[in-house]
Amino acid sequence: LLTGFGAAAAAPKRGGTMTVSYQNDVSTLDPAIGYDWQNWPMMRVLFSRLLTYKPGTTDLTTDLAQSYTVSPDGKTYIFKLRPRAKFGNGDSLTADAVKYSYERVVDPKMASPGQAFFHSIKGYDEMVAGKATHLSGVTVVDPLTVKVELSQPDATILQVLAMNFGDIVDPAVAKKYGKDFARHPMGSGPFMLKEWVPGQKLVFVRNPYYFEKGLPYLDKVVFDIGQDPLVALLRLQRGEVDLLGDGIPPAKFVEVTHNPKWKSQVVVGHPLETSYLTMNTQMKPFDDVRVRRAVNMAVNKKHIVRLINGRGHPTDQVLPPGMPGYDKNYKGYRYDLKKAKALMKAAGYANGVSTELYVYNTDPNPRIAQAIQADLGHIGIKVALRSLGQAQVISAGGTPKTAPMVWSGGMAWVDDFPDPSDFYGPILGCGSAVKGGWNWAWYCNKDIDALAAKADTLAQPNEVQERLALWRKVFGAAMHDAPWVPVFNEVQYTMHSKRVAADPANAFSDPGVFPFNYARIYATDGK
C-alpha cells in the first residue's frame, strides 16, 4: 500500500517518456521465472493475467477474464476471457494461451520458482513427476472459456492466478525463443519490450493492442540500469531520471525528506512486509521457549526504528498491517528487560550464553543486527555477528543446526499475494522446516499446521471471516511459542520527478515493493 504522487495534476494526458533508474540489471522478464521485486512490476505491465488487484489495494478484480464462476464445492473455476484481447504482436489471446502458460510454469523442465503455487490444480502431481505433459485440471472449453479444476478446495488459488506466474504468454513467441523468452517476452500487457541492452537499459513501448482503451498514458518507459542509488537520486534532482527504482538511498533519506523542496516528490510505500529475527528452535539456547520469549522482550524495537531513520513501524506480530487477518488488538511481548532477565534465569542461563546472529551484509542490516546484539547483551546473551552475502545467509538459515539466529532484513518476507497463508506455510510451517527451506526458526507445531491447513480449505466467499479468524488464531498460537521476534514493518520511500504524476489511488498495481503501475503514470509539463 503506497501513498505519494500527491501532486495529481490536471487530467492525465497521453504521450511522453519516463526514465526509471535501477542499480542492478533486470534478471529476467519471463513470468514463469521472474520472482524478485525488481522484475515483478515490470512483468505486470508486459503481461496481463486472468485476475488482478484493484490498483493499490488487496482486492482482486478481473483483468483478462471478463467474468468467472466458482462451483459450490470450491473445486471448479470457469473463466470467460475478454473477446478482443491481443498480444503486443497482434496475435489473439485465446484459452489455449492460458492453458499453455499455466502448463509452462508447472512443466518441470522450466524449473519455475512458481511451480508449487499451482499444486492444487488437478493433474499437477502427474505433470511435475513427468508422467503427463499437460495439466489435466486446465481445460479449454472454447476459445474464450477456460475451466480450472482443483484436486481440493484452495482459498488462495485466485491469488495465485493473479501473481505473475499466472501471466499469459504468447505461445508462438514462447515456443520460438524457448529458454530465451526471458529476453524476448511477449504478453498482452499495456507495454511491450522494445529494446534490452544488457547492463544498460530496457525500453518499454506502448502495446498498440492493449485491451483497455486509453492506457497506457506514456508512450515509452526507459529503465536506466547500472547506477548507484545515490547517484540516481542526484540525477533525479537534476531532472534526468523520473523515478527511483531502488528507492531513496538510506544515506540521503533524512536530507531529502526534510527538505521542503523535495518533500512533495517523495513516494511512500507500505509493502506487506515484516522484518523479523528468527531463533532456531532446534539449537541451544533457543530450544527453550523461555529464552525465545526473553529475546522478544529484550529487543528495543523503537531504537531500531530510530536507527533506520524511522523508515518502519515497530510490530509485535507476524502479519503486516494491511494484510487480511492482521490483528489490531493483538498484544505481543512488550519491551521488558526485567521480565526477560527473569525468564533467562528461569531457563538456566543466569550466567549468560553465547550464540550467533546471521545477517545480510548490506546497510542497514548489520546496524540493526548490532542493535539487537547490544540489546541481547543486556540479558546475558552474547551474540557474535556473521555478516555475509545474501546467498550465504539464506543457505545458512536453510541448513539444519547452523544459524542460531537470522535477521531477515534485506531478505524479509514480502507477500507473494495478500493472503495470510503466504506468511505461514513457507516460513513457519512444518513443511518448510527442511533443508533449503525458509523456515529459519525450524519451528514445527503440528497442531498449528493442522489449523492452517483447515483455514486454506475455506474457499467460499462466505467463509472469509471464519477463515481470517482461524488465521489470527494460528499466528497467535505461533507467537506464543515465540520462534520469531517480529521487529518492524518496513516503510519504503522513493521519489519521482515533477515531470511525471499519477492518481495516488491507482499509481500502484499491488502492495509489493514499489509496484508502480507504469500504465497509469503520465507525463506532466514538469511544474
Binding site: 545515490l230 538511498p249 538510506p250 544515506a251 540521503k252 533524512v254 536530507e255 526534510h258 531504537h303 530510530r306 536507527l307 533506520i308 531513520n309 524511522g310 551484509n361 546497510d363 542497514p364 548489520p366 546496524r367 543486527a369 548490532q370 542493535a371 546484539q373 547490544a374 557474535a384 555477528l385 556473521r386 555478516s387 555475509l388 552475502g389 550465504q392 543457505s395
Partner: protein
C-alpha cells in the same frame, strides 16, 4: 648492532621528518595497545545522545570529540580500538605478503631455471585467481578471525611484490660484486641474505608502504564478505566502508579514518626512507 642502533638514533636526530614519522608510528602503536585506557568510551556503546532525533550521527563536538557513527557510538573510541585491527592488518598481513613476495621473487630471480619459471607461472596463476571467491568460501567454511584476513590479504598481495622483486633480483644478481662474493666461496644463502636483500630494501619499502593502505581497505571488503572482523569490532577500513555512502551527510566518518590510514602509510614510508638511508651509505650524502 650497537653501531646500527647508534646510526638510527643519529639519523633520527638529524632529520626532523623521520623523527616526526617515527613519533607518529609510535603514537599509533601506543594508541592501539592502550586503547582501553585512552578511549573515552567503549567502542561498542550505543549512546542515546549519539544520534539525532531523526537518527543521524552527531558531528564532532564537545561530547564526542570526533563525532559519532550511524549507531551513535563514539568515533574517537572506535578509531582507537580500530587501530588494533588496522595496524595488525596493515602491518602484519602486508608484511607477510611482502615477505612471501620477496622470498619467492628472490628465489625465482636468483635460482632461475625450471624453479624460477615454475614460481613465476604460479605467480601468474595467483594473479589471475579470483580472491573474493576464496574469501567467500573461507567465510562459509570457517569462523571469521583476523588470521584468515591476514592469510587472504597476504595471498592476494604477494603476487605483485613477487613480480617486482623478481625483475630487480635479476638485475642485481648480474652485478659484478655478486660474482665477486661468489668467488670468495660464499654460499648462495649468504649471497642472497647479505648482498642481495639489502639492495631490494628501497623496492620493498615502496611496495610495502603502498600496500599498507590497500591492505587496510581490502580488510574492509573481506569483513563485508564475512571473512574478517565482524561488527561491531571496528577497523579503520570498515568504518570507512560502512559509512562511505553517508559521505555527504557525515563526512567525518569517512575523512577521519581515511586520514588515519594515509598518515600511517606516509609515516611508514618516511620511516622506510630513513631506514634505507641507514642501510645505504651511498644515499646518505645525497639527502
Amino acid at each position: 648492532m650497537v653501531a646500527l642502533a647508534n646510526n638510527v638514533v643519529v639519523h633520527l636526530a638529524r632529520h626532523k621528518v623521520s623523527t616526526a614519522a617515527a613519533l607518529v608510528v609510535l603514537a599509533m602503536i601506543v594508541a592501539a595497545v592502550f586503547a582501553p585506557w585512552l578511549a573515552p568510551h567503549g567502542p561498542n556503546i550505543q549512546f542515546d545522545n549519539g544520534l539525532t532525533n531523526s537518527g543521524l550521527p552527531v558531528p564532532p563536538g564537545r561530547v564526542f570529540p570526533l563525532g559519532t557513527d550511524l549507531m551513535g557510538r563514539d568515533l574517537l573510541s572506535r578509531m582507537l580500538y580500530g587501530a588494533r585491527t588496522s595496524l595488525v592488518v596493515g602491518l602484519a598481513a602486508n608484511a607477510v605478503a611482502v615477505f612471501i613476495g620477496t622470498v619467492l621473487g628472490v628465489v625465482a630471480g636468483f635460482v632461475r631455471g625450471i624453479m624460477g619459471a615454475a614460481i613465476m607461472r604460479f605467480t601468474d596463476l595467483m594473479l589471475a585467481f579470483p580472491a573474493l571467491i576464496l574469501a567467500i568460501a573461507l567465510a562459509a567454511i570457517l569462523h571469521p578471525t583476523l588470521w584468515i584476513v591476514i592469510a587472504v590479504i597476504a595471498l592476494v598481495n604477494w603476487t605483485w611484490v613477487c613480480r617486482v622483486v623478481y625483475t630487480q633480483t635479476i638485475a642485481i644478481s648480474e652485478r659484478e660484486y655478486i660474482e665477486a662474493v661468489r668467488s670468495l666461496g660464499a654460499s648462495p644463502l649468504r649471497v642472497v641474505l647479505r648482498h642481495l636483500l639489502p639492495h631490494l630494501v628501497p623496492t620493498v619499502i615502496v611496495w610495502g608502504t603502498l600496500g599498507i593502505a590497500t591492505a587496510v581497505q581490502l580488510e574492509a571488503t573481506l569483513s563485508f564478505l564475512g571473512v574478517g572482523v565482524q561488527p561491531p569490532t571496528p577497523s579503520w577500513g570498515n568504518i570507512i566502508f560502512e559509512n562511505q555512502a553517508y559521505f555527504s551527510t557525515a563526512p567525518w566518518l569517512v575523512l577521519l579514518p581515511g586520514i588515519a590510514i594515509v598518515v600511517v602509510a606516509l609515516a611508514f614510508n618516511l620511516l622506510g626512507d630513513a631506514l634505507r638511508d641507514v642501510f645505504d651509505p651511498t644515499s646518505r650524502s645525497r639527502s
